[in-house]
């Protein structure tokens, strides 16, 4: 068979998963303790994203607070923290090596999206007149870049000790004919309509929902439900990892 089967009649996907199984997740926090206040790496299947968080610190003129946004934002900074998000896509992250320019509007849009998500999730009123810089490095892409970025940023912010209301967890869900598939890889993403959703912890509150492909409105509900349960599952995994890291660290301090 020349073309791989997206979803076999036996209910198996291209990589052997069932419809409701997410890819293998490996995540770690405090991976770059020397270079940043908080850091994380997350691998969701073959998608790999690294995140560094610096802050809260005094706003620099080059990024965020001043410069591009000029004095319009300095007003808001009086009572809220300024978030700035930068993303770098590694040229080796996809099979065809491409040099990406820094002002790709798709990446800019993603940065803006992530900024808006965490502006709501971070208790920004506790750090007025300061800035948090979130730097994302997309090391490998195999579908679900946005979700991995959000999850990585969430973990890194927690590692930096920035007060947050809850984790922001993101997950994708697609629709293959009438079957919902959870957490798509790249091949599946190219083949079917899918949406990315991010929830505030294990609640029913949706912080982000993005859909970029045409799909019948009746198919939206099952996709949304699946994505939400995926988000809740991811929160468990991320929380377990954070707690494990905390225990290890405490043990070391105690010893």
């Amino acid at each position: 068979m020349s073309r791989p089967e997206i979803y076999s009649p036996e209910g198996l996907r291209i990589d052997g998963r069932r419809w409701n199984e997410v890819r293998h997740i490996k995540c770690a926090i405090n991976t770059h303790p020397a270079s940043s206040d908080g850091s994380s790496i997350i691998e969701q299947g073959n998608t790999k994203v690294m995140c560094n968080v610096v802050g809260p610190a005094e706003p620099t003129s080059s990024s965020g607070g001043g410069g591009a946004k000029s004095n319009t934002n300095s007003f808001a900074n009086e009572n809220k923290v300024t978030l700035s998000v930068k993303a770098t896509v590694a040229p080796f992250s996809t099979i065809d090596r491409r040099k990406r320019s820094g002002n790709d509007s798709r990446i800019q849009e993603m940065c803006l999206t992530i900024q808006h998500i965490f502006e709501e999730a971070v208790m920004g009123h506790l750090q007025p007149r300061s800035q948090i810089v979130i730097s994302l490095y997309i090391l490998a892409q195999d579908g679900g870049m946005l979700q991995a970025c959000i999850n990585a940023a969430s973990l890194a912010l927690i590692d930096a000790g920035i007060p947050m209301y809850d984790y922001v967890c993101a997950c994708t869900a697609g629709m293959h004919d009438t079957e919902v598939l959870l957490d798509l890889n790249r091949l599946e993403e190219n083949d079917m309509p899918f949406l990315t959703m991010a929830t505030l912890g294990a609640t029913r509150k949706v912080s982000l929902m993005q859909l970029e492909t045409r799909v019948g409105v009746d198919k939206l509900e099952p996709m949304m439900a699946a994505a939400m349960s995926g988000c809740h599952y991811l929160r468990q995994i991320m929380d377990a990892q954070v707690r494990k890291h905390g225990k290890n660290r405490l043990a070391r301090v105690g010893a």
Binding site: S105, E119, E120, S207, M209, Q210, E212, R214, V217, L220
Partner: protein, 345 residues
């Protein structure tokens, strides 16, 4: 760049207070759009002028023959340009992309180009050699909120209205040449538009936040009574009503809102694009009902566009012998039949 207009605290409190009493300042209901007016140029094809309340957008469609991209020899090119000039509002700077502009251009791009509203394969003339480049130039003239919604439907309407010049291929082999016929020579042909995307933006207001800020505002002047505190507790337990959802926000509402979601859909009950990026987290049920409401709005708007197009067609054809005598007329009637069928569905 001129400094942005910041709503005052009084304005903020006033609008939110009104919303808690189910009132919008322009006396619309929460799910009501502003007055929508679509008009087409009487001289040019693919020139549309859209008024959405006080917001005004014009779109010009143009086409020229060019070379296709080497990796897609069978596809024509389609470009949407959405630069916002300071005419819309002095806060937009010529030549520099603001955040708002970035979001608007990306969503229009996703809504129309990425959803394949225009069949780019039909723009191919000679595979790998010649194809049409269709440009949609969106000019935002006045900004009173809803630039995105107005821009998206203006592009959709303009694509439907546009007629590209007829072409013929002369010669054979390597000597093949594309001849573009001016409208006086051959009747121009419509573009192949596969569906009509319509974008609707829902603005979210956190009523719990509104309530608490209101009580905070009143408590500075008068001591809070225990009864009021009880009310607040009631609000906390009442989860269903905590987000107010407004359709087609005005500029003031846009500046004050806590979050928004843009949904693009078409008359076939398909969602082309959903954009809800951060800000206020909203219950999943609310988002779902918004998406369904969007398709209803899309249906209404599409019908309006079709009606206006038909009126324009009639106005154009008065005494036009050339139009009546053309060979394409039969097909046009067939097209209209299809449109009618679609409307009846």
């Amino acid at each position: 760049m001129a400094r942005d207009l910041k709503p005052t605290l009084i304005e903020n409190t006033f609008v939110l207070k009104a919303l808690t009493e189910n009132v919008r300042l322009d006396n619309r209901s929460f799910s009501q759009m502003r007055n929508l007016d679509i008009s087409f140029s009487s001289t040019e094809y693919g020139a549309v002028d859209v008024h959405l309340g006080r917001t005004r957008v014009i779109v010009r469609i143009s086409a020229e023959v060019t070379q296709p991209r080497s990796d897609r020899p069978y596809d024509g090119l389609f470009v949407i340009s959405t630069e916002i000039s300071p005419m819309a509002a002095p806060t937009f700077e010529a030549g520099r992309k603001s955040e708002e502009e970035l979001v608007i251009s990306r969503i229009i791009e996703k809504s129309i180009r990425q959803s394949q509203a225009l069949d780019t394969e039909s723009l191919c003339i000679l595979a790998g050699e010649k194809c049409w480049l269709v440009r949609a130039d969106v000019h935002f003239l006045d900004h009173d909120g809803g630039l995105l919604d107005a821009g998206c439907l203006a592009v959709s309407a303009a694509l439907l209205h546009y007629r590209r010049p007829e072409i013929s291929i002369v010669g054979s082999g390597d000597a093949r040449q594309v001849v573009v016929h001016p409208p006086t020579e051959k009747v121009p042909v419509p573009l192949s538009v596969l569906h009509v995307p319509v974008c609707v933006t829902f603005s979210f207001f956190n009523m719990k936040l509104a309530q608490s800020s209101l009580t905070a505002a009143t408590s500075t002047t008068a001591a809070t009574t225990p009864a009021k505190e009880n009310d607040e507790i009631d609000m906390d337990t009442d989860d269903t009503d905590e987000t107010a959802v407004l359709v087609d926000a005005s500029l003031q509402e846009e500046l004050l809102r806590h979050g928004f979601m843009s949904v693009t859909s078409n008359i076939n009950k398909e969602i082309c694009q959903i954009y809800k990026a951060g800000q206020l987290a909203v219950e999943i049920e609310t988002l779902l009902s918004c998406s369904e409401a969007a398709t209803a709005v899309a249906e209404k708007v599409t019908k309006l566009i079709r009606r206006r197009l038909k009126e324009d067609e009639v106005a154009r054809n008065v005494g036009n012998v050339l139009e009546e005598a053309r060979a394409e007329n039969d097909r046009l009637v067939a097209d209209e039949g299809v449109i009618q069928d679609m409307n009846n569905d």
